[in-house]
Amino acid sequence: MTLEVKNLFCERDERVLFANFSFQINTAEVVQVIGQNGSGKTTLLRILCGLSDAYTGELFWRGKALDEVREQYYQSMLYVGHLAGVKGALTPEENLQWMVQLDKGLNKCSIADALKSVGLFGFEDVPCHSLSAGQQRRVGLARLYLSNAPLWILDEPFTALDKKGVSEKEALIASHVHEGGSVILTTHHDLMIPGKTVRPINLDEVALA
């Protein structure tokens, strides 16, 4: 077991998103958070990342309270949010160099290899603001190829990606899980992870319960 959530309660604008909500993410598992727009998918992922304080409940990382092991947790977690965190004024290569500085765990392969893997070979010197939306998304997702972190938290990672891009990322998730990693993600896309079943968490049902 890697990440465990106990008795999560969260309300937003006087609407209860989840109450008494407990679940866990195990090693070598893909968890897909599903639910309507506004059902709290992003809120849930932000709570898991420590990017939201608007909840009550307990979070445990490898059996220890998350607040006590926050630094270790951040070293073993990779978060790709709605916003890719890509600077338009910087080139893909400069963006990735900064991301590697920020997260020392991003050293699985070289930046050049990661850019090649996301199909941005030849674009490394172009400022990101002149790339297309999908290409900018790819710059943010290049971190997945670089990451050694066991837990990936991905919020709508496939937005603006083409079909080929999506299936490449699915294969990447499969190999990450094969190596013992865990992934929790939100997407409206029908997820097909080769050789792995995806465990769904339906937030619409959680709210009803």
Binding site: G50, A54, Y74, M77, Y79, G81, E94
Partner: protein, 222 residues
């Protein structure tokens, strides 16, 4: 330490790609200096009397004008979230961001201040005091301003609020900064003033980054 320089390098690179950011505070500073004598009185004796106050107020407002942008773009494109989930030191990161803001605002203002002083007929013996007071005073302005910027980064219209939050904190720096220049221009000792400005700077350098980090966390997490 290497992380501090990496963060500084990134911020300076971003500034270099958006050169307007450097020109804005400087242009504001120079415009006030040029327009003030036209609007009030071009009389040399009058101008040299008010020089210390006007130059310092212009420098302060130029800093305030640009401080709103310290965290704005990082918040808008999601970089700030990535910084908060990093295991690297946020203290070093924030310090690097404030330092790069100071380099493009306060430091540049201090460099061109003798030119403005000349336009205001400030006695030559006050030049050293002016540059020194700006070099010691403006980093404090950047640090305090960053607290306000961090608190208001999540608000769409933080512009007015940031002035209200930060201006009271700027007043001691303004008083001692302008006082330094006045004393220097009259040929008096400025050591006491500089020591006070230095003390305020050391104090804010030690504590402001903690406040900025806490404010950023509040802004992003709520």
């Amino acid at each position: 330490m290497s992380f501090f320089f990496a963060a500084l390098k990134r911020d300076l690179l971003l500034v270099f790609r958006h050169r307007n950011d450097i020109i804005n505070p400087l242009a504001f500073f120079l415009m006030v200096a040029v327009l003030f004598p036209l609007g009030v009185s071009p009389e040399p004796s009058f101008l040299s009397d008010v020089a210390s106050g006007v130059i310092w107020v212009a420098a302060l407002l130029a800093c305030l004008l640009s401080v709103d942008g310290i965290f704005r773009t990082d918040y808008d494109d999601g970089s700030l979230e990535q910084m908060l989930v990093s295991s690297e030191s946020l203290y070093a990161l924030v310090l690097a961001k404030v330092f790069s803001h100071w380099l493009i605002s306060g430091f540049c203002l201090a460099l061109i201040s003798p030119l403005v002083a000349m336009m205001f007929f400030l006695p030559e013996q006050g030049y050293f005091a002016l540059v020194m007071s700006l070099l010691l005073g403006t980093p404090t302005l950047s640090l305090m301003g960053a607290i306000g910027a961090a608190l208001t980064v999540a608000l769409r219209k933080g512009g007015v609020l940031i002035s209200l939050l930060v201006l009271p904190l700027y007043i001691p720096v303004l008083i001692f900064g302008a006082g330094t220049v006045q004393a220097g221009a009259m040929g008096l000792s400025i050591q006491g003033y500089l020591a006070l400005l230095g003390a305020i700077l050391v104090f804010s350098l030690m504590f402001a980054p903690f406040a900025i980090v806490a404010a950023l966390k509040i802004s992003v997490r709520s």
